[in-house]
Assembly symmetry: C2
Homo-oligomer: 155 residues x 2
DNA sequence: CCAGATAATGAAGCAAGGTAACTATGAAGT
DNA sequence: ACTTCATAGTTACCTTGCTTCATTATCTGG
């Protein structure tokens, strides 16, 4: 009841639809858990790259350090993350995932891979290789276009 | 500097990357114009389906009527939209696109189609048909999965 | 050893988007 | 006619994510 698939559906329409569906599903899956998108990104980076200082987190997430403070505050209050003193720099803290949360993230990673397989399974076998190549090519092309646009906007 | 494309990049990773790139580009393109995603969706629906009441807009956009009020407030203040009295219901107002904004939306539609063509152009010619079929199949499968999940969550 | 950079936080604020409770109007049944 | 109920919008308030500016504590290089 939300997609007007009547006429002229472009490739881009479909890709946007996919993006929107992902967002909707994320929002539903984490509703009421206290996991917001920004907080999930923090957890994701910690899972992927291990403990790090808030400065490093800010750089990875491309947000201000002040912001990371707030996000880590929330995650620490809910027990998903711990602040431990940095071994060699008493100004800094190391943010690390709580073991329980690390397990949650691993499970999410697994579900992520399963979903990927399920989606590929929806594609006709003869088309799969082409789809994987094609989506990669589209992502790369789009990355270049967006980067160029951003550089142009700075000037 | 934000995508870790090192190992094990799944199809889903690529699709998520594409979604994120779109969002980034949208955010950049409309920064400073007062067009936010929610407001753009309002304009899009008005362009596509013509003038309607705020209730109808709320239903189309799947947001609360209150929210539509705020969005229309902002769009009216910037002159992109007009509120006119409903001819037969004095409670309701009809929201209509300003002509100038309708032209802007048409231009966006054209750019949208151009971008779609550009992205398809990045795909090897021999893969194009398969990619179009495949992305359609993925979008459909994902739509079913998300809807099922939402129904399951209600129960 | 001190001048300046750096890590984190406190205080305040902004824009976007959301819900809940309220007012005004319409519609339907007796 | 009039009571009841549904509907259209809006006023008030909350949360999230993010920002800037100022402050404290610590590190580092001349």
């Amino acid at each position: 009841m939300k997609y007007h698939l009547d006429m002229d559906v472009t490739l881009l329409d479909r890709l946007l639809q996919i993006g929107e569906l992902f967002q909707r599903d994320m929002a539903r899956a984490f509703a009421g858990t206290g996991f917001t998108p920004a907080r999930l990104r923090v957890l994701w980076v910690l899972q992927h790259d291990g403990s790090m200082t808030q400065q490093a987190l800010a750089a990875q997430l491309d947000v201000t350090p002040r912001n990371v403070s707030g996000l880590v505050d929330a995650l620490e209050a809910s027990g998903h993350v711990r602040r431990t003193p940095h071994p060699s720099d008493r100004r800094a803290v190391l943010v690390e995932l709580a073991p329980r949360t690390a397990r949650i993230m691993s499970r999410m990673q697994r579900e992520h891979e399963e979903l990927s397989a399920t989606l590929l399974d929806a594609v006709a076998p003869a088309d799969r290789a082409a789809v994987e190549r094609g989506i990669g090519a589209i992502a790369d092309r789009l990355a270049v276009l967006v980067e160029d646009a951003e550089e142009g906007a700075e000037a």
